[in-house]
C-alpha cells in the first residue's frame, strides 16, 4: 500500500507541480494568475491523443504539435485575456477574463472532442509494471522542466530578461527590454509547460475535457503553498499535495479525500499566508 501511495502520489504531485509552474511563469511575466493553466494541462492530453491516436502521427510529431498547441493557447491567453486588463491589475479583472477564456476552451473541447474520456496512447512499448511509464513520465517531465528553467533563467540572456521583467517590469522597460515580447514569450513557455504536464500525465489522466477544472484547482494549491512565483516551492508543495492526496484517498477515501486536502490547504494558509516557501513582503509605511 505504501508503494502505491508513493508512486501514484509522486506522479500526480509532479503533474500538479508542473501546472503550478505554469501559473508561476505566467505570473512572473505579468503579475497575473491566469486560470487557463489547468486548461493547458487538459489540452496537452487531448491534443496528444488527437494527433497520435486519432490522426496516426508519429509520437515525436504528435508530442511537438501538442506542445505547439499549448504555446499557441498561451499566446492567445496573453493577447485576449491578460493584455486588456493589465492596466487595472488592482481590480483583479484577470480572474474573470482568464476564467472566461478557460471555460470557452473547455466547452469547445467538450463539443469537438466529446465529453467522454478517451485513451491516451502508450508512448513506449513496454509492458505494464509496478513502476509503469504512466508514473515515471510525469516525474521525468517535472525534472526536465525544473532543470530546463534553471538553465534558462541562470545561464541565458533571454532568461535574465525574463527575470528582469518579473522583478520590475517598469525598470526593465526603461532599460530597453522588449517587455511585451518577453511577456508573450513567457506565456508561450507557460503554454508549453502546461501542455507537457497534460501530455506526460496523459495515460494517468486520460484525454478528458473534465481534467481542466481539476488541474486548475489542484494546480493552484502548490502555487499558494509554495509561494507566488516560487517554482521550487511549487515543486515541493506539488509533491506534498500529491502524496497527501493519495494518503487521504487510502485512509478516508472517496469525496472526503478532497475535503481533507482543502482543509489542510486552508490551515496552512491560516498559519503562513505567504505560503510555506514564500517570503512575507515588507510593507512600505
Amino acid at each position: 500500500m505504501v508503494a502505491s501511495i508513493v508512486l501514484s502520489g509522486v506522479a500526480i504531485g509532479c503533474i500538479y507541480a508542473l501546472i503550478g509552474i505554469t501559473y508561476n511563469v505566467m505570473f512572473s511575466a505579468s503579475r497575473v494568475f491566469s486560470f487557463t493553466a489547468g486548461t493547458l494541462g487538459m489540452l496537452g492530453g487531448v491534443l496528444g491523443s488527437l494527433f497520435i491516436s486519432r490522426m496516426g502521427l508519429p509520437i515525436a510529431v504528435g508530442f511537438l504539435l501538442a506542445l505547439a498547441g499549448g504555446a499557441a493557447l498561451g499566446v492567445v491567453t496573453e493577447i485576449v485575456a491578460v493584455r486588456p486588463v493589465l492596466k487595472s491589475l488592482d481590480q483583479h479583472l484577470y480572474v474573470l477574463s482568464t476564467l472566461a477564456l478557460a471555460l470557452i476552451v473547455q466547452q469547445f473541447t467538450a463539443i469537438e472532442w466529446g465529453t467522454d474520456a478517451r485513451p491516451f496512447p502508450r508512448l513506449f512499448d513496454l509492458a505494464h509494471g509496478v513502476f509503469d511509464q504512466q508514473f515515471w513520465l510525469p516525474m521525468l517531465a517535472c525534472l526536465v522542466v525544473i532543470v530546463g528553467l534553471e538553465l534558462l533563467y541562470r545561464h541565458t540572456l533571454v532568461g535574465h530578461a525574463f527575470l528582469a521583467i518579473a522583478e520590475d517590469n517598469f525598470a526593465a522597460r526603461a532599460l530597453g527590454l522588449p517587455e511585451r515580447g518577453l511577456r508573450i514569450a513567457s506565456y508561450a513557455l507557460a503554454g508549453v509547460i502546461g501542455a507537457l504536464a497534460g501530455f506526460a500525465g496523459g495515460e494517468m489522466l486520460l484525454a478528458f475535457f473534465g481534467n481542466a477544472p481539476m488541474l486548475t484547482f489542484y494546480g493552484f494549491v502548490p502555487v499558494a503553498l509554495g509561494g507566488m512565483g516560487n517554482n521550487r516551492g511549487a515543486v515541493v508543495a506539488g509533491l506534498l499535495l500529491g502524496l497527501f492526496q493519495q494518503a487521504a484517498n487510502f485512509l478516508v477515501g472517496g469525496i472526503f479525500a478532497s475535503v481533507a486536502v482543502f482543509t489542510v490547504f486552508i490551515l496552512v494558509l491560516l498559519a503562513r499566508p505567504e505560503g510555506l516557501a514564500g517570503a512575507a513582503l515588507p510593507r512600505r509605511v
Binding site: A110, D116, A117, R118, P119, G201, M204, L205, L206, I255
Partner: protein, 396 residues
C-alpha cells in the same frame, strides 16, 4: 342579368358550404405531422444517432405501406444539439408553429427534464425513451408516455442479478459525484438491502480521480464479492475495470450500460479485463444462450441489413426503440385518428405492443410501459451487430 342581394347571399352561403364540405377531402390527403426531437449533434448525440436510424426506417416503411389511411407520416425533426434549451425551443416550435399531432422525444433525460413539463401545457401526446424516474407522472403529465425502463427498473435488474442469479451477498456500490451517480447510489443501496444483500462499501468519487486503487482496496478489504458502479463516465468505469485487472481481483462488475460501450472498451489496458463485466441491457435485443436472437429481433436485424443500416458503431436497442415508436404512434392514429385525446385514450389502453425493443403496455395509472423482466444483464465483451450475449445465469 341583375343579381339581387338575396341571391348574392345565397350564392355566398352555398360557396361557403361547398368549401366547408370539401375541406375534409383535402385534409385526408395532408400528411400527419409528427414532431421529433433527437440529439443528432453535440456530446449526447451517440444515442440520438442510433435511435434515428430506426426511426427513419420505420417512417419509410409506414409510408411505403400506404401511410395511415392514405395519409403519409411527415417527421418534423428539430436537432436538440444535446442542449436542453434548444430542445425546449424545438418543442415550442413543433407544437405552436408546426402544430404536430404527437411528439417523439427528446431522447436524452437532460433534455426531457426541460421539455416534458413544457409539452404538458400544449395538449400534445408525447412518447420518450428516457430513464429518469420523474419523467412520467400521470397527474402532472397525462399525455406523456415512456416506452423504455425507468432508473428504478435498471437498478432493480442489476440488484436482482447480483443477489438472485449470482447469489452474492456482499456488495460494493460506487458512483461518480454527478447528480446521476449520487442519486443512483442513494436509490439502489436501500433496494439491495431490502433484497438481503450487505453493502460493505458505498462511495461517491470524483470521475476525474486518476487513481481508484484506494477505493478498490477498501472494497476488497471489506470483503466485497461484487462491484456495482453507477456512472455514465467511460473514464471512471474503465479505471474501475483496469484497477480490478491490475489487482487480479476476480469479482464481477455489474452495473450501468456504459460498462459495455465502445468508449469504455477503448480505455481498457488489456482486452481480457472486460471479462466478468455485466452491464444492463434488454432481453429482446440480446443473444440467448446458443447465440440466437428472438425471431422478431432476427427478422428486424435482417431488415436493417437489407436497408444497409450500419450497426457497427451503435447499439441494437437504440435502433430498436427508434423503430418501435413511430409504429406505436401510427397504430394509435390508425385506430382512433389524430385527435390528441383519442391518441392518449388509445395509449392508455395499450397492451403488449409488440416492439423490437420490448412489449409495451400502458394504463391510465401507469405510463411507464417497459416490462421489468426484460431488463437484464449482459456480457460486456460479447458485442456483435450492436447486441450482447445474456450474462451467465439467465435461462434461454
Amino acid at each position: 342579368m341583375s343579381i339581387t342581394r338575396r341571391q348574392a347571399l345565397a350564392s355566398a352561403g352555398a360557396a361557403a358550404l361547398a368549401g366547408g364540405l370539401a375541406k375534409p377531402a383535402i385534409a385526408a390527403k395532408e400528411p400527419i405531422l409528427v414532431g421529433y426531437l433527437p440529439a443528432l449533434t453535440g456530446p449526447s448525440s451517440s444515442t440520438g444517432i442510433g435511435i434515428n436510424r430506426g426511426t427513419q426506417l420505420a417512417v419509410q416503411e409506414i409510408n411505403a405501406a400506404g401511410g395511415i389511411d392514405g395519409r403519409m407520416i411527415e417527421l418534423i425533426t428539430r436537432d436538440t444539439q444535446s442542449d436542453p434549451t434548444k430542445a425546449v425551443n424545438g418543442a415550442a416550435e413543433l407544437t405552436r408553429g408546426q402544430k404536430v399531432s404527437a411528439v417523439f422525444g427528446p431522447l436524452n433525460s437532460g433534455e426531457s427534464l426541460a421539455v416534458v413539463p413544457m409539452l404538458a401545457r400544449t395538449n400534445t401526446p408525447q412518447i420518450h425513451p428516457c430513464w429518469v424516474d420523474s419523467l412520467t407522472d400521470v397527474q402532472k403529465y397525462p399525455m406523456c408516455f415512456r416506452n423504455a425502463p425507468t432508473n428504478q427498473q435498471i437498478g432493480a435488474a442489476a440488484n436482482r442479478y447480483v443477489v438472485e442469479v449470482l447469489k452474492l451477498k456482499k456488495v460494493a456500490v460506487i458512483s461518480d459525484t454527478t447528480g446521476y451517480g449520487t442519486a443512483s447510489v442513494n436509490a439502489y443501496v436501500p433496494m439491495l438491502k431490502t433484497k438481503g444483500a450487505e453493502v460493505v462499501y458505498q462511495g461517491n468519487v470524483d470521475a476525474a480521480n486518476p487513481d481508484l486503487k484506494p477505493e478498490l482496496l477498501r472494497m476488497q478489504s471489506a470483503g466485497a464479492e461484487a462491484i456495482m458502479p453507477w456512472s455514465v463516465n467511460a473514464g471512471f468505469l474503465s479505471r474501475i475495470i483496469n484497477t480490478r485487472g491490475q489487482m487480479q481481483w476476480d469479482v464481477p462488475i455489474v452495473g450501468q450500460t456504459t460498462l459495455g460501450s465502445g468508449q469504455t472498451k477503448a480505455l481498457l489496458e488489456k482486452p481480457e479485463y472486460w471479462a466478468k463485466v455485466y452491464p444492463n441491457n434488454f432481453r429482446p435485443v440480446c443473444y440467448a444462450p446458443g447465440g440466437k436472437l428472438s425471431d422478431r429481433t432476427g427478422a428486424f436485424l435482417d431488415r436493417l441489413k437489407t436497408a444497409k443500416i450500419d450497426l457497427s458503431d451503435t447499439l441494437l436497442w437504440w435502433v430498436g426503440v427508434g423503430y418501435d415508436t413511430p409504429r406505436m404512434i401510427a397504430e394509435a392514429m390508425k385506430s382512433v385518428g389524430t385527435e390528441p385525446e383519442a391518441v392518449v385514450g388509445y395509449l392508455n389502453k395499450l397492451k403488449k405492443f409488440p416492439g423490437v425493443y420490448g412489449d409495451i403496455s400502458f394504463s391510465p395509472e401507469q405510463h411507464d410501459g417497459y416490462p421489468d423482466d426484460e431488463v437484464v444483464m449482459v456480457e460486456a465483451n460479447s458485442l456483435k451487430d450492436g447486441a450482447f450475449n445474456l450474462a451467465p445465469g439467465y435461462g434461454a
